[in-house]
């Protein structure tokens, strides 16, 4: 994939005093007796790259659907760039590009047509639609497939087409619902890189994902949703720093002796099944990382490798969603 669309700045920009790209206040969604969203307050500033994380059924897709116009809210306020999503739906939708989780294009339509139609729905003239479609097909390596019906594309190509389609009208807010679900590692990395560029060019991005490392790598802010409630919202850095304890895994080149383990007793050593690995946990505010390393080396363990025990953000996520479930 190549650089970001270059026509973004050509679109008329109407600024409102509210600089939040997304703002929800007490957003409630009910399906019959089931309440999917319990009064969500979500703020996403312009230009941010925000990850919306949560377990299955937490309300991520419901939130996204309400923001993009696919679902009706039950109550509460929702605005995009200061415009109410119901009263000023045209203004909102012109600014939003949606990449849903499921493929949702006409499988019998050709790639080029799908992009051109999308531009037309957003009020872009024929010539400009053609120009943008060509540029996006080039950008997403779909040029050779421009006259191919969508049903003949591979899964990766379909995913790229979904993103290209969402960018046809140069949205100021890009919403992606699990964009890398089921794609191979190469494409995932390529998408990460591309989305980073899109964000740097000024586009606000809201991303839902099950891959915590994806959120950690891409997002500057994280909102965690569970059981229809936003239970935390902070910068990715602050959230990762939330845990006061640190765990590392030491892998030894030979079996770790009982004496070595006893010498590290205050670091809560947990031996691995084969006796070659040891997990150590310490409070990082009181035990400096450097002293832990010095003690490990002094214990006589033949160190082959040292690495963090878990993804930190994942630990925070599990901690928050677990405590939410227990309430």
């Amino acid at each position: 994939m190549r650089g970001v669309p270059h026509w973004s700045e050509e679109l008329p920009v109407q600024m409102k005093t509210d600089t939040n790209a997304i703002s929800t206040h007490r957003l409630v969604k009910r399906y019959g007796k089931l309440t999917a969203l319990h009064g969500i307050d979500l703020r996403v500033g312009e230009g941010q790259f925000v990850g919306l994380l949560g377990p299955n059924g937490a309300g991520k897709t419901t939130t996204i659907n309400i923001l993009s116009g696919l679902s009706n809210k039950t109550s509460g306020d929702v605005s995009l760039f200061g415009y109410d999503v119901i009263k000023s739906y045209r203004e909102c939708r012109r600014r939003v590009g949606l990449v849903p989780q499921e493929f949702n294009f006409d499988l019998f339509a050709k790639v080029r047509k799908i992009l051109q139609f999308q531009g037309g729905y957003f009020g872009i003239g024929k010539a400009e639609c053609s120009r943008r479609a060509l540029a996006l097909m080039e950008q997403f390596d779909l040029t050779e497939k421009q006259n191919t019906p969508a049903r003949y594309l591979s899964g990766g190509m379909k995913r790229r087409l979904m993103i290209a389609r969402a960018l046809m009208h140069a949205p100021r807010l890009l919403i992606l619902d699990e964009p890398t679900a089921g794609v191979d590692v190469d494409l995932r990395r390529s998408l990460w890189s591309f989305l980073g560029e899109v964000n740097k060019s000024g586009t606000t991005i809201l991303l839902t994902t099950h891959y915590i490392e994806e959120a950690e790598a891409l997002c500057d802010h994280i909102a965690i949703i569970n059981q229809g409630r936003i239970i935390d919202q902070d910068t990715t850095q602050n959230m990762s720093n939330r845990l006061s304890h640190e765990s590392i895994v030491v892998t030894a080149s030979r079996k770790i002796s009982g004496e070595a383990i006893r010498s590290l007793a205050d670091l809560d050593p947990q031996s691995g099944a084969d006796g070659h690995a040891l997990t150590l946990t310490f409070h990082r505010d009181t035990v400096p990382y450097e002293s832990v390393l010095q003690r490990v080396l002094a214990s006589g363990i033949g160190v082959a490798n040292i690495q963090p025990a878990d993804n930190r953000l994942e630990q925070v996520f599990l901690h928050l969603t677990k405590s939410g479930n227990q309430q």
Binding site: T62, L70, R90, F103, N104, D106, K113, G120
Partner: protein
């Protein structure tokens, strides 16, 4: 400033609807011509010698307006029902729901797509009938009025059917159990005056009887029903059912949660 009407979006969606049926002529345009030709050959040429003229008009000519009306009904209904159901089934109706187009513009474009197909097919069948049976055109005004209003009514009916259906089986319910019987019992192949009084009263509840006779008046100058009543009914029904479609789409019936 927000535009009150998005012409580009409307034009794009209408263009897509038209492009949809034009790219499949073997499914959408040619079969009605073949069907109408077969009816003319079998019922007209073969049987007309055994059937007395109706109100001074040969049987082969008498059935032609009904055949044209059948093709308009079938084409306009089929266009919207397949288009909307495919869009729901494959999920690409979401392309429209997230666009800045209004519900009214979306519904109007889809319905117009069905109307265009109905009129195009009706025109092709008419040309075929003129070629095969030298059918006259007595009053072009009623022909246009009834063709457009009936295409609108059944384009809307296809739209509603597709919004309601949850699977392919249900999609065929309206066509098989409502549309086809009403069409065949709507005076395409007979005059209601041939029926006993009881069955005449039953037949007069069938709206298609009025549409067929309206078109018949336009082509042949004869009708079993009051023309003004039929025209008024067609216009009111077209407007009414269009706004029903708009209402269903606006509330997100089976398309929004």
């Amino acid at each position: 400033m927000t535009r009150r009407f998005e012409f580009i979006g409307l034009r794009t969606l209408l263009g897509r609807e038209i492009h949809r049926f034009l790219r499949l002529p073997n499914q959408t345009l040619l079969p009605p011509i073949i069907t109408a030709s077969l009816y003319i050959v079998i019922f007209g040429f073969a049987l007309s010698k055994r059937i007395s003229p109706v109100e001074g008009i040969s049987y082969e000519l008498y059935i032609i307006p009904g055949l044209i009306m059948m093709s308009i009904i079938s084409a306009s209904f089929g266009n919207t029902s397949s288009s909307v159901f495919s869009a729901r089934f494959q999920g690409f109706i979401q392309e429209l729901l997230v666009s800045p187009m209004s519900n009214f513009e979306i519904v109007l474009a889809i319905i117009l797509g069905g109307v265009v197909r109905g009129i195009v097919v009706g025109a092709l069948v008419t040309v075929t009938c003129i070629f095969l049976a030298d059918v006259p055109i007595h009053h072009p005004g009623p022909i246009i009025l009834f063709a457009v209003s009936v295409a609108t009514i059944f384009s809307c009916a296809g739209f509603i059917s597709a919004m309601w259906a949850q699977d392919f089986d249900r999609l065929s319910v309206f066509q098989n159990y409502v549309l086809t019987p009403l069409t065949y019992l709507g005076g395409v192949f007979f005059s209601v005056n041939w029926l006993d009084p009881f069955w005449q009263n039953i037949a007069k509840v069938n709206p298609i009887l009025y549409f067929v006779n309206g078109l018949r008046y336009g082509f042949l100058g004869v009708s079993d029903v009051n023309l003004w009543g039929a025209a008024g009914f067609a216009i009111v029904a077209a407007v009414g059912i269009f706004f029903l479609c708009y209402h269903l789409f606006r509330i997100g019936y089976n398309i929004k949660t």
